[in-house]
Structure formats: C-alpha cells, structure tokens
C-alpha cells in the first residue's frame, strides 16, 4: 500500500465541480442486412471524480458499445444516432459526439483523457510486440517523452501495477505473461498518461476468482489514489457490490434503473433488477444441503483412489521434453448414492481432467476407479474392455459445458436424445419416440419440439436437451462438467433447479465440476477443492464455504465477491502464497 500512495500526487486534481463526463440520451444503431439493431437507446449517466459507476447487464445488453462510444471507437456499421457525450476535465466542456472522425481531439482524448481496459487478456495486447514497446508507445504519443524517459516511466508503471521484476518484464512478449499479468500490463497502459476517466469493460471476467480479486483490488486502489472517475462494466453483481458507488442496470440497450449501490441492492424497483438480484442471491445459500441428506452415507457408489494423470515427460527426437505436467496428482474421493459432490478449482487445477479420467475419455496414468452399481457388485473401471466400458458409460453420463458444441447441429433433437437408445438397440421407433417425448417433458421442453434442430434453441434450452440425452439411459451418476458456466445468471439457477428436481424423481448422484463457488454451494452436499492437481480440502459444502480450514480454500472463498454492498468480502480476504 505504501508504494501506491507514493503516486498520490493526483489525489489533488483541480476540482472544477460537476461531473467529469456526462452522457445524455445517447443512442447507437447498427444497420444490418435485414434490420436496424438499436443497440443503445436514450442512455444517460454521469461520471464523477473518484467515483465508480457500474454498468450492469447480461450479454447483449449494449453495455460495451456504450462504453466504447465514449471514446468514439464503435465498430462499423455502428453509428451514434443521437445524444451527447460531454467531457469536462479542465473547465472547458467538450462534446465528444460532435468531433469529426479521426480528428486530433479524439486522438488526444483516447489514452490521454480516457483509459480503457477490457476483457480478453489473451488477445487485447499485440502478440508480436513486447509489453514495454506497447506502453512506451502511449507515453510518447501523449506525453512528449524521449525514448529513455518513456522506458523509465514504463518500468515505474509496471512496478505500480505490481508486476515483479519490471526491468526484465518490460522486454517480454505477451505470451510470456499469465492472464493476470497481462491484465496488469493492460492497466499500466491504460493509466500511462494519467487519464481522468478509466473505462474497465469486464476487466476480470476471463480471470480466476483469486486473480479477479487481486486485479479489482489494484484497479480500485489506483483509482482512489489518482482520483479518477471509473466506468466499470460487468455482468457480475458480486463485483458490482464490491466496487460500485453508483449502479446503472442495462437491458436491451436501455438503462432500466439507476441508483446508488445500496439502494439498487436493497430496494430495487425494476422487475428486471429484482430478477437479476434474486438469481444471484439465491445461489448464496445451499439449497441441496438444506434438503438434508442422510446423516451417514452408505457404501459409496463410486470410489476414486490415487488418481494421477501425467502429460508429456516422454522423449522426442530432440531430447527430453522439458517438463512432465501432473494434471491430476493422487486424487482420492468417494461418491455416495444420492449425493452431489462438487469439485471446485481455478483454471489449471485439473478438475476438468479429473472428470474425464473418471469416464476414461482420457486414460489415467495411475489410480483406481471402483464403481458399485448395486449391493455386492464391484467394477474395476480401469480394467474394463472397450465393450464393458460402453456399459459403464450408460450408467455414468456426462453433461458438457458448451451447450452449442455438445449437440450435433446436423441431427434433430429427437435424433440427439435417441442416439444412445438407438445404439443400445432393441427398441422400436415408436417406443423411442415416446421415450424422447417423456425426457423432453422431464427437462421442461415441449415434446413437439423434437423434430427441430438444435439451432432453433437458446443456450439454456440446449443445455436442457443435453441433460435429456444424459438421462436417456437411466443413469446412476451424472458428471456435470461446468454445465452451467456458459449460461447467463437467471438461466443458470433454472438449470440447477432442474437438475435437483430430476434428482428427486430419479435415483441419481452428481459429480458437479465448476469454477464457480456459489453454484457449488447451492448445488452440492460435499465439495472437494482442487489446487494444482490435488484435492486440498474435502468437506461439507456449507463448511467449505463458511469455515474452510486450509489456507488455499480460505483464500479462494474469501476472494468470491459478495453480492451485498453492506458486506464487502474481498477487501479483507485471505491471501494464499503457493
């Protein structure tokens, strides 16, 4: 913190009074082939020094376009069709919408007065230029520095965003940085010319939850110390609650509700805001656990022992491959009948690999999987022949993450769901059709839709079709791999409820793999926390989420933003040094 306050000179900007940026009735159109899309309609808001406005909405609500319009970088064919954007940094109000395209004033404002950070840390920096050269470029563009000065300043900036060894890292390329580090470099670039306004467009969406907490922390500190106004765009109400002063909720291009953060969270007016909040807050409590399972679990239906998967490590023509990667490292757990076991971890923790190892989509390097379909029966899954493995796959099913990629677009819904039945054989066409209709009803879809192709369905509906396919063979266990991650908030909780509903009707156990702690908490009885291929903690969901024991779990749980501005969690979170 001491380092940060050293740059506090900007804390005393000339205060000219009034908002530093005000948007009035901004509208944006995209003329497309068959129609004009009114992406932004009559949007008004103001940004003030030292304050953060959060623009919240689900995907496609027009929030990113709005932000980019402030810098006049809307992609073609989009155009501003009405309204004004007034920038007032030095007492001379400037109407940004009135400036001609490519004019000097616009170029000066971009990077100079408004800095931009956005979502994709992987692709938002040029892959063929060094990090340093990309930052130096901004400095030389706006601050009239010599090369040497700019380089020194860049090192200083990298230090401020807490990139270790900035003298070395300045000459590195983007692909040598991790996601979090890239986002830091991006922040350094956006702040290089000390802008009055920082626009952060989903700056942490692509990051792991602990990295997200770090980055949000950093942005917030830099913003306060520099006295910048910030426009933060996000779909995550937790993030909003943690950092916002003011909130504007956007839907279908319109701001449906604005207000200060406390009012929005505790006295929402608009039905849409209420729905958004309900979907988020709902996940804050464990529903499955509240239903209460049996106090003592019987013999486990599936046991995994010392599961290990090593990638690489062989030799090639040109000598040894540098390092063998242990994606999964000696993992053991039991799954009981009727239980929902969550496997939670950040990207690279090995959770997805683990799911695939259980099903032998990927062959394990070591370990034992024992499946107990009935009393006294015991199957060693790793010893199964190809044919026997098919039987196993009938009882242990997988639900995929991406509802778009997991359904064959060239088959009708009926063909998709019936495929496992057809392969198993022994059913007449009529019987199959009846069964498909039954499963469609079970997952809440109209059986009449079975002749349609997947492209006619939305993401949530497709995920329902995927679930119906998984159910088609009367499975005992369903492995759900990030099954709700690709869905928007309100649909996510619907799917979770559907899965729980089905569990009550059929005798099922779930292995629920997710990076999202609140979904796991809602859905699971027990949770295994994975880190670097190992399970660091396995306990009841409620215990893990409220009173974790291991240091890593603590840091993970405390990094999850809380969707309540009165109980900000991240600021006093645990940090974990690996």
């Amino acid at each position: 913190m001491a380092e940060i306050s050293a740059i506090g000179e900007t804390g005393q900007r000339p205060h000219t009074g009034g908002p530093v940026l005000s948007v009035e009735n901004l509208s944006l159109d995209f003329p497309l082939r068959t129609h004009i899309l009114h992406a932004v309609r009559d949007v008004s808001f103001t940004l003030e020094r030292g304050k953060t406005l959060c623009l919240v909405g689900e995907s496609g609500s027009g929030k990113s376009v709005t932000a980019r319009a402030l810098m006049r970088i809307v992609d073609k064919p989009g155009r501003i069709s009405g309204g004004t954007v007034t920038l007032n940094t030095d007492g001379n109000p400037l109407d940004v919408t009135a400036l001609p395209d490519g004019s000097k004033e616009i170029l000066k404002l971009r990077g100079g007065k408004i800095g931009l950070i956005f979502q994709e840390p992987m692709s938002s920096l040029s892959p063929v230029h060094t990090i340093g050269s990309q930052i130096i470029e901004v400095l030389r563009l706006h601050r009239d520095m010599s090369k040497a000065e700019a380089r020194a300043e860049t090192i200083e900036l990298l230090r401020q965003v807490e990139i270790p060894k900035p003298e070395e890292m300045i000459d590195r390329y983007t692909f040598e940085f991790s996601g979090g580090m890239r986002q830091r470099a991006m922040i350094a670039m956006a702040l290089a010319c000390d802008p009055d306004i920082l626009i952060a467009d989903e700056p942490t969406t692509a990051l792991d939850v602990t990295t997200q907490a770090d980055i949000l922390d950093l942005i917030k500190r830099l913003q306060t110390s520099r006295g910048m106004a910030m426009l933060l765009i996000t779909h995550d109400l937790g993030v909003v609650a943690e950092v916002a002063d003011e909130v504007a909720v956007m839907r279908f291009g319109r701001i449906v509700e604005t207000g200060d953060v406390d009012t929005i969270f505790h006295a929402p007016q608009h039905p849409y805001t209420k729905r958004l909040l309900a979907a988020t807050v709902k996940l804050e409590e464990g529903r499955k656990a509240a239903q209460g399972g049996p106090a003592e679990w019987s013999t486990p239906i599936l046991s995994v022992r010392e599961m290990t998967k090593v990638y690489g490590g062989g030799t090639s023509w040109f000598g040894k491959v540098p390092s063998a990667l242990k994606a999964v490292d000696g993992v053991s757990f039991d799954l009981h009948a009727g239980e929902n076991l969550g496997i939670v971890g950040e990207s690279g923790s090995g959770k997805t690999t683990l799911g695939r190892l259980i099903l032998r989509i990927t062959e394990p390097t070591e370990g034992k999987i024992t499946y107990r379909p009935g009393p006294g029966e015991e199957i060693d899954v790793r010893a199964l022949s190809k044919d026997k493995l098919r039987d196993f796959h009938r009882q242990v099913r997988l639900v995929f993450q991406d509802p778009f990629a997991s359904l064959n677009p060239r088959m009708t819904v009926k063909q998709v769901i019936a495929d496992p039945l057809v392969v198993t054989g022994g059913m007449s066409g009529k019987a199959i059709e009846d069964k498909v209709a039954h499963f469609l009803e079970l997952v809440g879809l109209d059986p009449l839709a079975m002749e349609r192709y997947p492209h006619a369905f939305s993401g949530g509906q497709r995920q329902r079709i995927g679930i119906a396919r998984a159910l088609a063979l009367d499975p005992k266990i369903i492995v759900a791999d990030e099954a709700t991650s690709a869905l928007d908030g309100s649909i996510r909780s619907q799917i979770l409820d559907l899965l729980l509903d089905i569990q009550r009707q059929l005798d099922l156990s779930y292995i629920f793999i997710s990076h999202d702690i609140s979904t796991v908490r809602y859905f699971c009885d027990r949770v295994a926390v994975m880190h670097k291929g190992k399970i660091v903690e396995l306990d009841a969901a409620e215990k893990i989420c409220t009173a974790p024991e291991m240091a890593y779990t603590k840091s993970l749980i405390s990094a999850v933003p809380s969707p309540d501005p009165r109980h900000k969690r991240m600021l006093h979170r645990h940090r974990f040094q690996a």
Binding site: T34, I36, R397, D402, N408
Partner: protein
C-alpha cells in the same frame, strides 16, 4: 453525489430492432436440416448461382456433344483451311427490295495475298448458306449406341460450309471440335476429382482418425508431394506414357496423373477437419452414448464433413482442367485424334498462326477460362455456405 434515480418500469422482452425487410420462415427454419440451411445460404450468393448454371450448361454440352455439334470434329475440308468465323444473318434481300426472313451464314470467297501468296478467306455477301435447327447432317452414333444424323444447328445443305467459329489448319470446324473438347476436358475434371477424392478421403481419414505414426507417414508423403513443383512432375509422369497406348488408355492415365497430384490438398483438408471434429464435444458425447468407431465416423463425423468436402472438391476441379490443358498443350498429354481444349490450344502454339487465325486461341482459351472461373465462384459459394451453423 446525488444521482437521479430513474426507473423505467415497463419490462421489455427483446432487443429493439427496426426491420428493413419482411422476416419470415423462422418457424420453418427450426426444422430445417443441414442441406436446407446450406441451400438457403448458397442462393444468396448470386455469382455462385450463375456459375452453377454455367457449369450445368457445360456438362449438358458435354453430354449431348454429338447432337449439339454441327458436324464431325475430325472431318477436314482442305479447301477451307483457316477459314474465319462466319456471322449469322437473319434476313436476306428477297430480290424485290423487301427482305425475307431466312437464317443464314455467308459463304467464303478466296483472296490471295499478292505479296505472300497466302490464301485468305473473306465472307462473301453473294453466297447465302441457309441454316436451321434440327437439320440432318453428318451421321454419328449417339453415346456410341444409336445411329443418328440429327444436329441441333447446321447448314440445310450439309455440303455447304457453316463455320460459326472458323476452321483450323486442316479445315476442321472449330465449333464442333470445341463442343467435343468440352466432353473430354470437363469429364477429366470430374473423373480426376473423383479419383483424388477417394485417395484423399481414404488417406485423410486414416491419418486423422488413427493419428500417431500412420498420420506422420501420410503427412510426410503429402509434404513431399506438395513441395514438388507440379508441372515438372506432371511432365515427368506423362512423358512415361508409352506411345503405343490407345487414346482411351492415355485418357485414363492422364486423369490418374492429374488426380495423383491433386489429392494432397484434399487429404490435408479432410485431415484438418477430421482432427477438429474428433475432439468436438458432440463427437465425444456420441462416444459416451455408446457409439462404436464406425458409427461415430459415418453418423457423426462424415455428415459434418460432406459439405466441406464438396466445396473443396469443386475447387479442385479447375486445377485438374488446367493440368490436362497444359499437358495436352505441351504435346505430352492427350493427343489427336482425341479432342480436348488443350489439344485445340496446341494449334495456337505458334505466334504466327495466332496472329492470322486468332480464333484458334480465343475460343478454346475462353472455354477454359469460363469453366475455371465458374468452378471457382461456385466452389467459393459452396465453401461459404458449407457450415450454416457458424455465426
């Protein structure tokens, strides 16, 4: 900071749009299979549509060459060597100052260049050669099966000259030769691509599905073949054809040579797609559904590949046509009496011939370019429409 608290209470259900064109058929598309979607996407590309029509016409010409050609492609009339194209007229002077409808071409008058003593032909306005549809002319065996002598277009009196595109060195009708050449050149493209396809699919699928050393070996082979400059290779292979072989044998071996070197691109394409599809979630899902390898390939992977393969194949046909043309042009491909566009162009090798009889270059070359362009546009259209599911 006091911010105006605004709430728009009405709840909307979708993004705001102003339609520019009437939208319809949404419901219909919901139950549309892949080919229907591809078709819908394809017909939006007018250029590809026109090209498809041209290709169909070319293949019709190839199929009915005997009937469409006004005469026998190898019948030579030494008295009409290098005769220029005749224009078609529709009215003749009836003798009483009124014109009478009578489709015709003008006959030829011979002029001898006083300097070079070369004979040249000029259309003679005095000579009228009446022409018509469905005339009787040179007899032929249609598709080698039926004896016929009906021609779509010809001089009413078959002994009279009608050379709409002129004649060559031996006084043979260029139009008839061009039409017969269409049959050979267009079919080489099709058969060659068929052979390439079989090779490409078999090797590409093996490579893509089994991976490992099979893949490495096949990839190496593809690498070597595609690194070799094609024309020298074609030349080398074609030069090995024994002179004693029959025209039909030569035809097939040339097709084979052309396709041997064309399959690499296909194999690479198939392999790439195969690899991509193999790891697609829906294929993994099908495997977990209990599908065996064979069902995986034929039910899940191949249907996703066919439209792409079709596009690549279409784009490979013009290469084959060009290859045949080039080989024949150089005199080591097809040889007379077989007629192909390349064989026709052989007559245009000499710059002096071309300058005195430019039609010998213009028409066959034009045919090649039109065919190749059409295949390219058509193939591009197919390729763009091949995946109707990508946004």
């Amino acid at each position: 900071m006091a911010m105006n608290r605004t709430v728009h209470i009405q709840d909307e259900t979708g993004p705001a749009v102003t339609p520019l064109k009437p939208e319809g058929g949404r419901e219909e598309m919901a139950a549309a299979g892949q080919w229907k979607l591809i078709w819908h996407k394809f017909i939006r590309n007018k250029l590809a549509l026109v090209s498809a029509a041209i290709i169909i016409v070319l293949y019709l010409v190839a199929a009915f060459a005997e009937f469409l050609a006004p005469g026998d492609p190898s019948a030579s009339r030494p008295q009409y060597t290098y005769a220029p194209p005749q224009p078609i007229g529709f009215f003749v002077d009836g003798g009483d100052g009124e014109s009478r409808f009578l489709p015709h071409v003008k006959g030829y008058a011979v002029e001898v260049d006083p300097e070079s003593y070369r004979r040249t032909f000029v259309p003679d306005d005095e000579q009228i050669v009446p022409i018509g549809f469905f005339v009787e002319g040179a007899p032929y065996k249609f598709w080698g099966l039926f004896d016929m002598n009906m021609h779509l277009l010809g001089a009413l009196d078959p002994t009279q000259p009608m050379y709409l595109l002129g004649t060559d060195r031996l006084g043979r009708d260029l139009l008839s030769r061009l039409i017969y050449g269409t049959r050979v050149s267009m079919s080489i493209g099709l058969i060659g691509v068929g052979m390439s396809l079989v090779l490409g699919i078999v090797l590409g699928s093996l490579s893509g599905y089994y991976g490992g050393w099979v893949d490495t070996a096949i990839q190496r082979l593809i690498e070597v073949v595609s690194a070799m400059p094609t024309i020298p290779l074609w030349l080398g292979l074609a030069a090995a054809i024994p002179l004693t072989w029959s025209p039909l044998q030569v035809y097939f071996i040339i097709t084979l040579i052309v396709s041997l070197l064309g399959w690499t691109g296909l194999a690479r394409e198939v392999r790439g797609r195969f690899f991509a599809l193999k790891t697609e979630d829906f294929v993994t899902a099908a495997r977990l559904d209990g599908s065996r390898e064979r069902r995986l390939i034929f039910r899940h992977i191949l249907p996703s590949l066919t439209s792409h393969i079709l596009a690549v194949v279409t784009l490979a046909i013009p290469t084959m046509i060009i290859a045949e043309t080039a080989l024949s042009f150089l005199g080591i491909g097809l040889k007379p009496p077989v007629v192909s566009w390349g064989v026709l162009l052989q007559d245009a090798q000499n710059i002096r011939t071309v300058s005195s009889a430019p039609w010998l270059l213009v028409w066959p070359a034009g045919a090649v370019v039109v065919a190749v362009l059409s295949f390219n546009f058509f193939g591009d259209g197919l390729r763009d429409a091949a995946d109707p599911y990508e946004s």
